[in-house]
Assembly symmetry: C2
Homo-oligomer: 76 residues x 2
Amino acid sequence: MKARVHVMLKDGVLDPQGEAVRHALGALGFSGVEGVRQGKVIELDLADGTSEAEIGEMCEKLLANTVIESYRIELL
Amino acid sequence: MKARVHVMLKDGVLDPQGEAVRHALGALGFSGVEGVRQGKVIELDLADGTSEAEIGEMCEKLLANTVIESYRIELL
């Protein structure tokens, strides 16, 4: 089975990487880019029967820093 | 309007970051993790009426390195 985990910085946490992308898009002539947030997406190839709870544990322990990041699990 | 761009390494391109995550999950006791690929997700807050073609151009010019990365646009 496959699962996808999205990890984004929480609202209110400064995202200098996203800010740099926003600035670079403006410099390239793309107008109307009001905000950019950058995060990670992790695609996991797992043994069949792995529970969503177990994937949540992977996020809590390794994939996301839950102090500043939120995560979302998508089973494919 | 909002759009989300997913950028992943193309199949066949080595992903050392994903490999490190796979190894770390194994070391933490999660068995059955057969493969991990890590990519980026970029959330764009755009002026209303920005076309998908324009977002594609942003990807080609800045957000993805199309030699080794593929991208997928999702309008929200």
